[in-house]
């Protein structure tokens, strides 16, 4: 066993780094940020090597009384569901530091401090074992993200950042009321203890709605997704990567950690609407994606569609669906993160995001275009690459729940292939766009080093999905046991 509190160290090391950066100034900010994120990865390593995959129990648990008068404990711990997200947060943070190296020229110190603060919030959220701490980190995430979008973003960054802030805050305050109601009902806010609490069906239904307000905005589910295209498009590259890679997952993680185990009986009422909204997000999101002319906006809208797959998998309520959903979140974090990084890298050179301004990139920048091709292939679910396994699991889970859902999901996959391939066609193939002539478009070693880890992760998960799924089996089975021992026969079925 390790001799230090791994989760606390992983969570708060970036915060320490942020404070150091604020004290030292612009000149060293990049290096301190890089050092901090790398050190955070190193500190978190015992989590993956010391983890017992066969157990669904919480591991690396730390519990210290924090606010006794509200019965709130500072509780940290991970199970197989939260672990992949912690790893993803830690890795993506390193890449975000790297990709911002040149791109961020103004107020470098503040930028890296905000970025590191988001890392603390992300890791802390996934490591929290109780709702209070979860809420604290949930809210903590909003503030630096608001600044990242609003200060270092694109032309309409202020509009996008305020919209992001108000949407997410409106959702999360209802969660606060739900949290307090649960505190009275259960006397504790520990997830594990609350899961055994069987409130009346109507109480569960109201609470489900309160938490749905928070999670649906964050995922985002149709029709509260409208903040996402603005925020993703206007954010600086690192901000888009954090948004797409981690922030969206917080909502889905909330469904898994809170909505399903705490309000299983409410699903009787909400299962059909949730599935319908998921399918709507998949198909509607995909069609809207097809119509985009801005590269970043296109990827942003594709997230709506992809997160629809995630919620579809979760609310399929079977082992395949939920495992697929979690794997899909990890894959989406890797691939959408990669696509945003790729777009950011080329944007630094061309300063345009219009698809029409590109074309023939493979002639001008063959190495870059190879990376792009790889990520596009992975994103459409090419067998042997990571998204294939997760989409397969989700579709099979959806077919098990209800045949029609599976059909819709397949339709979504087909549309997804279309918009990605068409994007690649317009950007990379054909003759070099006259506007691009004379530009040095090829990527440098730092950028290759930024993208390469994601390629490796995509291949490893693609060839050996068990590397993630192995962590999920026990906790997902445990979760389903709680959900399905509900006294009510779930609607639908085969």
């Amino acid at each position: 066993m390790t001799t230090y509190p791994v989760l606390t160290a992983t969570t708060f090391l970036p915060l320490v780094g942020a404070v150091v950066i604020l004290l030292t100034g612009d000149r060293l900010a990049r290096w301190i940020a890089l050092g901090t994120t790398l050190l955070t990865l190193a500190v978190s390593l015992p989590l993956y090597f010391g983890f017992d995959k066969t157990s669904g129990a919480l591991q690396f648990v730390e519990a210290v009384p924090w606010i006794p008068s509200w019965n709130v404990v500072y509780g940290m711990g991970v199970d197989g569901i939260s672990l992949p997200f912690i790893f993803l947060s830690v890795v993506l943070s390193i890449l975000c530091v790297s990709v911002s190296w040149i791109a961020i020229e103004t107020r470098v110190r503040d930028f890296y401090a905000a970025l590191l603060l988001t890392e603390t919030a992300m890791v802390g959220l996934f490591a929290a074992t109780n709702l209070f701490l979860f809420y604290i980190f949930w809210e903590l995430m909003i503030v630096p993200m608001f600044l990242l979008i609003g200060v270092w973003g694109g032309p309409s960054r202020v509009y996008a950042s305020v919209k992001f802030l108000l949407f997410t805050l409106a959702g999360s305050v209802l969660m606060l009321v739900g949290l307090i109601v649960l505190l009275y009902a259960g006397g504790t806010l520990e997830f594990r203890a609350l899961a055994g609490l069987r409130l009346s069906v109507s109480a569960q239904a109201w609470l489900f709605l309160a938490f749905l307000a928070a999670f649906a905005v964050k995922v985002p589910m149709f029709p509260v997704h409208t903040w996402l295209p603005d925020a993703h498009t206007e954010a600086p590259t690192a901000g888009s990567v954090i948004l797409a890679g981690i922030l969206l997952k917080m909502g889905a993680y909330g469904f898994l950690r809170i909505s399903l185990p705490l309000f299983p009986d409410a699903l009787e009422i909400f299962l059909a609407p949730m599935l319908a909204l998921s399918v709507a997000a998949i198909v509607y999101g995909a069609y809207v994606t097809l119509a985009q002319t801005d590269v970043k906006r296109l990827i942003a809208y594709s997230s709506v569609s992809h997160m629809g797959f995630v919620t579809l998998g979760i609310f399929s309520l079977n082992q395949n669906g939920i495992e697929g959903a979690i794997l899909q979140m990890v894959n989406h974090g890797i691939l959408t993160g990669a696509l945003f990084l790729a777009v950011g890298i080329i944007y630094e050179r061309t300063h345009t995001r219009e698809i029409a301004a590109y074309g023939g990139l493979f002639k001008a920048a063959p190495i870059y275009t190879t990376f792009l091709a790889f990520f596009c292939l992975a994103a459409i679910g090419f067998p042997g690459l990571n998204a294939f396994a997760s989409e397969f699991l989700i579709v099979s889970g959806a077919f098990t729940r209800w045949f029609g859902l599976g059909i819709m999901a397949v339709w979504g996959v087909a549309l997804g292939t279309t918009y990605i391939v068409w994007l690649y066609y317009r950007v990379a193939l054909g003759e070099v766009n006259p506007g691009l002539r004379g530009m040095r478009l090829e990527i440098n070693a730092r950028e290759v080093a930024t993208l390469l880890p994601l390629v490796v992760m995509a291949i490893v998960i693609g060839l050996y999905p068990e590397s993630v799924l192995g962590f999920l089996r026990a906790p997902v089975a445990q979760l389903l046991e709680i959900v399905t021992t509900s006294p009510i026969e779930l609607a639908g079925g085969m």
Binding site: I136, F146, R157, V158, L174, I180
Partner: protein
């Protein structure tokens, strides 16, 4: 003799005020007088803890319990912080420092007494001492029309509210035959449901609602805050509001305990209206002091949420809220004061993060706390009061309260948008006076510690 021990802090304050008045003609600069006030506040605070004071004295009309002690600390800290903030303004507005600080000390004396009062007459007199001094403080910058206007409005509406309070006291006395809180409580138990007693209770509560600027008795606050110089507005928002809350909590929890059903309904209405109206009207403000005035109105509503329950825990939540609010609003006003002439309009905050990153960061902290975003003290306080509201089953009220905090996020964080996301206009603000920086530091520390370790504060919130 031991009864006098109860009054040592008040005696220290009054002695300093009289001393200042004696030398007032000779005082030209604010610094010396301000130093005296800060030292006096420190001495009074030390005196309060130096020896164990009796729980009650003077025939039971004054209490020296933990509740009074808590508010003593709050008022004295507010006094000291406002004084630190005021030095430059007193000099530049050419206010006579002797008079200004004597009034400040006397107003604080009234606040201290209001928190210890166990008798309606004492309560009335101490609140009058506080408000009469406040009227003058608002109008003390005589050359400014807005200042006179604010003072006159404050005075007229305040007199009206005092009349309501006095009428309520008279009715309560008429039915229960007592002015002491404990005797009122036993008298009220014998006369439950007597319509005159009920009107008395309602009138007393409404009269006190004026002091905390709860809707519909809020109309004076925006004009008074805008007209007054910023340090006075800060003192009113933090100290005067806390004094009103201190009085209200003790009257309701002790004196009117048997009529809990009635006053809790009145408070629900007051709280809901204050939160809603305060947040909505603040949206359209362009003057910082007016914005903070409307914010103080909605925060009065949040603070009342704790008292609705009528439980010791709820009262503690309200105490915590008034403490936290006092410091976060002092902090926000502190930035306004620190920026001097540049701080009064919202548009003055454009690009502040560029020209003065430290001030912008502190302002951002106070704004987050006012919005109620963790891990700031504002969140812990809001959590405590909403916890108590939900405990009483008023989930609808809790939902209203949190949704209004989203509305408030819009106008608080609009300032953050100006500071961080726009380019600076005009020249950079000058260096802050060290006294202002010290006051800001205190406010920031309370805002952070109260958020990260809320229980450090909760231990002191002894309900009456």
């Amino acid at each position: 003799m031991s009864d006098v021990l109860l009054l040592v802090p008040e005696i220290v304050l009054v002695a300093a005020a009289l001393g200042l008045l004696l030398v007032a003609r000779r005082l030209e600069r604010a610094r010396a007088a301000a130093t005296l006030v800060v030292l006096t506040a420190g001495a009074a605070m030390a005196a309060g803890f130096a020896w164990p004071s009796p729980e009650a004295g003077f025939g039971g009309i004054l209490a020296g319990d933990g509740y009074a002690r808590f508010f003593d600390v709050l008022f004295l800290a507010t006094l000291a912080t406002s004084t630190l903030l005021s030095i430059r303004h007193v000099d530049s507005d050419r206010v006579r420092p002797g008079e200004f600080y004597a009034l400040l000390l006397l107003a604080a004396t009234g606040m201290l007494l209001a928190a210890s009062a166990m008798d309606l007459i004492v309560l009335y007199l101490s609140l009058e001492l506080m408000t009469l001094c406040s009227y003058v403080l608002v109008g003390i910058t005589r050359e400014k029309k807005a200042s006179i206007e604010g003072a006159v409005k404050y005075f007229l509406l305040g007199s009206f509210a005092s009349a309501i309070l006095l009428y309520g006291i008279a009715l309560t006395y008429g039915i229960t035959g007592a002015t002491g809180f404990t005797s009122i409580a036993s008298g009220a138990t014998e006369n439950t449901g007597n319509p005159l007693l009920l009107s008395g209770v309602v009138l007393v509560v409404l009269g006190l609602a004026f002091k905390i600027a709860a809707v519909p008795f809020h109309a004076w606050a925006p004009d008074a805050y805008q007209g007054a110089s910023a340090p006075v507005a800060a003192f009113l928002a933090s100290g005067s509001k806390a004094a009103g809350l201190a009085a209200l909590v003790r009257v309701c929890m002790v004196g009117f305990a048997p009529e809990h059903g009635l006053w809790s309904n009145v408070l629900i209405a007051l709280a809901a209206m204050s939160i809603l109206l305060g947040s909505l009207v603040a949206l359209s403000q362009t003057n910082m002091k007016r914005l903070l005035a409307y914010s103080s109105i909605s925060h009065a509503g949040y603070a009342l949420l704790g008292l609705i329950a009528g439980t010791p825990d709820g009262a503690s939540a309200t105490m915590m809220y008034s403490f936290v609010y006092a410091f976060m609003t002092l902090g926000a006003f502190g930035i306004v004061i620190a920026l001097d002439r540049r701080g009064e309009n919202l548009s003055d905050y454009h690009g502040l993060a560029r020209t003065n990153p430290g001030a912008a960061a502190l302002m951002f902290l106070f704004l987050l706390s006012l919005t109620g975003i963790p891990p700031t003290a504002g969140f812990a306080a809001k959590f405590a009061v909403i916890l108590s509201v939900v405990g009483q089953g008023h989930v609808g009220l809790a939902v209203l309260a949190v949704l209004c905090s989203v509305i408030s996020a819009f106008f608080y964080l609009r300032i953050a948008v100006y500071m961080y996301m726009t380019d600076p206009e005009g020249e950079a603000p000058g260096r802050f006076p060290s006294t202002v920086s010290a006051a800001l530091l205190v406010a920031a520390l309370v805002t952070i510690i109260g958020g990260v370790l809320p229980d450090t504060l909760a231990a002191w919130t002894v309900p009456p």
